[in-house]
Symmetry: C2
Subunit: 199 residues, 2 copies
């Protein structure tokens, strides 16, 4: 079988390491890059390097930013008494899209997972405790995934920050809005039942 | 709503122009690139530029290569009397994967499509006719998509090369191997019936 030119083969290999990209998509993307003008392909290459160079983590919340502290942390219209704790910076985007949150954030950088060797020292938990002790906070919202790791991490953090006198809450679990009761798994439906609200 | 850092936003915009990549996948890929080591991201950027710089089109067949003529055209074990005509260079990969073809190729670079302004002068048809007239050929296999454009292009080419005394064939149309007769569309089933073979 004829093989692809080595430089193209290499590009396909690198592209197929990206999330959600298999070998077939990688080949399609690589061929498209060769077909588009050289200026366009160079623009993409430059943009990758530039984004990696310019984007840093906010020293306060850990979110992605080009200026430290980030735009959210310095936004005076945001409630300084409220911190929402998330696993990754992409979770901030999801929460901002709801348009219902006007506090600040704290990115942990992962979840506690002893089996994978992720302990509290690998996460940005100490800086969260510092922020809690600084005295400005009224509430910490734990917005971690409703999984075993997420629950364990939430409980661990709650134990650490409660002594500072801060209210600690977590996101509600239950039926997805617009979802079908019939299709919900038994754990979700059970939680929705247990955590039912007065109308 | 908080926005992403501008350099990241730009990268996501460029990534989402790639085939099969929507805004959501582009965001995931961009964040992964930021998370991976800077060396890895730079490697991808360099590989894009390198592949675009090094890969050229074979002056004989039009396929992608780093050396002109390409490995397939110079391969002495390949039947020089057989040319398979394809729309794009990625089609060569598909045919090579079958392991059933040992001739050479000719990439048209598209299909005739008057509505999109693609005429014979926009395709590599003249070089194909030259190859047919050179006298070495015994057969030209037209492996174009079984669509209106593909059929029109096949007929156009057949008319041009038949005077050179070359046999012209096209790929069989019919049921996909392993497919379900029940699920075949009526056009495919009709063609399969018309082009039935003796057992």
């Amino acid at each position: 079988m004829a093989s692809l030119p080595p430089s193209l083969e290499r590009l396909i290999g690198l592209l197929s390491r990206l999330p959600g990209i298999g070998r077939k998509s990688a080949t399609r993307i690589a061929l498209r890059l060769l077909d588009s003008s050289e200026a366009e392909s160079r623009e993409l290459a430059r943009s990758i390097v530039e984004a990696c160079e310019k984007t840093i983590r906010c020293s306060t919340c850990g979110g992605l930013t080009e200026e430290d502290p980030c735009g959210i942390c310095t936004d005076v219209r945001r409630d300084r008494g409220l911190i929402c704790v998330v696993e990754r910076s992409s979770d901030i985007l999801a929460l901002e899209r709801t348009g219902r949150y006007r506090g600040r954030y704290h990115v942990l950088g992962g979840l506690l997972s002893p089996l994978d060797g992720v302990g509290p020292e690998n996460l940005r938990i100490d800086t969260l405790v510092e922020r809690a002790r600084a005295g400005e906070l009224s509430e910490i919202i734990l917005a971690l995934n409703p999984t075993a790791e997420g629950e364990a991490t939430s409980l661990y953090i709650a134990k650490l920050v409660t002594p500072a006198g801060v209210r600690v809450t977590r996101l509600a679990s239950g039926l997805p809005v617009g979802g079908d009761l019939d299709l919900a798994d038994e754990l979700t439906l059970g939680t929705a039942l247990e955590e039912r609200r007065d109308l």
